[in-house]
Subunit: 436 residues, 2 copies
């Protein structure tokens, strides 16, 4: 018979155990941070009606979407983010839920992206939002969640760069460039990638020399957040609800002890029309080149495609694959611990039942414990323990067993020690595990 | 603008927060049991080449598979189980992995099933296997894993019904019914659904009166496992490696302390040709009608479609949706705990920063704590806490704040108590949480 090649699709990946254990350690910590703030988890289908995902205008084929007809002739597609499904979800379940509603959602999404830029076609998103309320407190809550989520994964130093879309728009209106605001925002959004000079030239082409100079002044204002906001207010024609709102929001974050992480950065615009209030991106000062690892902002109506009920909200999103790549570069991936604390070697078939009985005692004492499942050469079993990173072993043959002696070994330093029975073995192994 | 209906596809579901929290509590406990035995997690793509999933003979359209052409013209499909992807995975990564290899995998799979029978088209599977070894110890290990996994989710009483496919086949050969063995196995497999009488009649039609009577004698043999095996050996023409193997396997499980859960049941055949050694199904005595909640067995070559390297293995699979339904019926779903321990009420906008600062202190003390994100009527905030099941509250306005007094409340019994500052509030709230 001809063998089938065990290949995977371009842009899709198998995850090997060591990587998967790190991924889980990472998502466990993120989830734990979200739960600390009272976010609850939800799930939505991976496959949806294309109309629901793309809207009615989405008729023209979007190359990035995995879309097909199912057996019932339905036009369906794999979700390409977690935001659109969340909007539909809120519209569908408004009567069963309560607002303000804060949820997190960690799940796979799919896009037929060009894989040459290191993008995957199947990727994991991690979104968190507070909807049904438009307030300083909710905005501050999301920013504090970002700080805490990174702290939970061992990253204390982040730069949370925040701005207010409304303040920028007001400035453009005041400048008499309101009609070009979409293009101006898009141009400024690219500043970090292309540099100030290119941005300046692009702006001159868009709005002329004088206005471009003012825009550059606006986006390059730096310093303490209240100083920057005061300066931007001047450029925008004076105080307003936008500047007041972002000042109070950042003030709350500072009062809650996360001031050292936060910067007002007028270049943050987030390209999407979707955002209406604060917008933010998160950078790792140790890895400036990797770009933002968590972005988001305030929107004034989440689910307007599906319901007339207004749902203002604020939220953020972590691209887990990019974050993992960053943590790998920093050699700061979360510690997943050993795959098992103890390996019970198999020296004789007649002892198989006893090995499993011993393992049970060890597990009941709190150790994770694996029984090597066949009588093979000792060297092979040692090699297995090493490949799997198991630190401790029990190595007992019929002689030791007949003498009532349990031979234990610390595989990290090759020290051996004997225990008089299963309970003592459990105690000694636990002490040894904690000791290293 | 016309609204789009926020509907989901037939057979697909949104999961509401309370359900999702229970699902996660359930999978957390299962994973914890797997980890106790040294299983490591893996992941594979949701979307694969159709050829890889269905084999080369899978050209005829299988109605149950979600299959389509992607933008690159590839014939692709959503995985319909976790076994086939695991086989491909092992073939693809043999050089990077070690054997024996024990993995678990919890993930979604997709089938276009008839939804009228309460089946979902998107469902969660939970598989665990030990491959690369053919031994009593591995077989016993899988059976012990099943017992421990159910114990971890609070189900001590399970019936793990075990048989050996080889012993049944040998019996049929001895009887002179070897040629009809596939049909006989399929008939016997249905016994639990259709009853002994119907099975008997079907067997008579298949192999005639005399042989049918012997088959019925074989499959109705009951009693202690060693007694049943001895009886079956007689019917099969004497002792053999099959009966010896299953006797030693069950013996090891008994020695490891899980004897009360295990029954030799000759009617367990598992329809699939795939299995070659022990086979098992798991029933809940309190819910006999729900059928098996965890099934599996030994196969002699996992990945023969993709590699010439033989990979014998043994494994089991839990259908998570069916298990959840069973636990709901038993009112024994795992306890997910409150969505947050403490709700900090919002009584005044000027205190937003302080509320978040207090919440941070409470979180640092180990409490999960949510800040109500807007100044709304007290009744509304109480209603929210109740809907979300939050047991404790901090209710402070400007007056209390000015007096340096933190008013706490146990929402379960409406008792109030004051703390002199954030640290004392944390201590009192924690004590209160533990007290109930």
């Amino acid at each position: 018979m001809n063998l089938i090649s065990p290949r995977v699709l371009k842009g899709f990946r198998d995850i090997l155990p060591d990587s998967e254990r790190v991924r889980r350690a990472l998502t466990d910590r993120l989830e734990s941070a979200f739960r600390q703030f009272g976010y609850v988890p939800i799930d939505t289908p991976t496959l949806e009606y294309t109309e629901v995902l793309l809207g009615k205008g989405g008729g023209e084929t979007d190359k990035q979407i995995f879309r097909f007809q199912d057996h019932g002739g339905r036009d369906v597609a794999l979700r390409f983010d977690l935001t659109v499904p969340f909007a539909r979800y809120m519209a569908a379940h408004l009567n069963e839920l309560y607002t303000p509603f804060r949820r997190y959602h960690i799940g796979k999404a799919y896009r037929g992206e060009n894989t040459q830029r290191g993008r995957y076609r199947e990727f994991v998103q991690c979104d968190f939002d507070i909807v049904g309320v438009d307030s300083v407190s909710a905005d501050a809550d999301i920013l504090l969640t970002v700080v805490e989520a990174f702290r939970a994964i061992g990253i204390e130093r982040i730069e949370l760069r925040v701005a207010h879309r409304g303040l920028f728009s007001r400035f453009l209106g005041h400048l008499g460039a309101g009609e070009q605001s979409a293009e101006v925002l898009r141009t400024v959004d690219k500043l970090r990638k292309v540099g100030v000079e290119t941005t300046k030239n692009d702006l001159v082409a868009l709005v002329g020399d004088a206005k471009a100079a003012q825009v550059v002044e606006f986006i390059t204002a730096g310093g303490e957040y209240d100083e920057v906001i005061r300066r931007l207010e001047e450029l925008a024609g004076g105080p307003g609800i936008d500047s007041d709102r972002v000042r109070r929001t950042i003030g709350a974050v500072v009062e809650a002890g996360a001031g050292k992480n936060i910067i007002y950065d007028p270049t943050i615009t987030r390209g999407l029309d979707y955002y209406t209030g604060i917008v933010f991106e998160t950078f790792l000062p140790e890895l400036p080149d990797i770009g933002s690892v968590c972005s988001g902002g305030r929107y004034n109506d989440l689910a307007s495609l599906y319901t007339k009920q207004e749902l203002p909200g604020v939220g953020g999103s972590v691209g887990l694959d990019r974050l993992l790549a960053a943590l790998e570069q920093l050699e700061r991936t979360p510690e997943a611990g050993p795959a098992a604390d103890v390996l019970v070697f198999c020296l004789d078939d007649s002892l198989v039942g006893w090995y499993h009985s011993l393992a049970r005692t060890l597990r009941n004492s709190g150790l994770t414990c694996e029984v090597y499942p066949a009588t093979r050469k000792l060297a092979q079993q040692f090699g297995y323990a090493e490949k799997k990173g198991v630190p401790l072993a029990v190595i007992c043959g019929p002689d030791e067993h007949a003498e009532g002696r349990i031979n234990c070994k610390d595989l990290r330093n090759r020290e051996s020690f004997d225990a008089a029975g299963p309970d003592e073995a459990a105690r000694m192994l636990r002490a040894r595990l904690g000791a290293e």
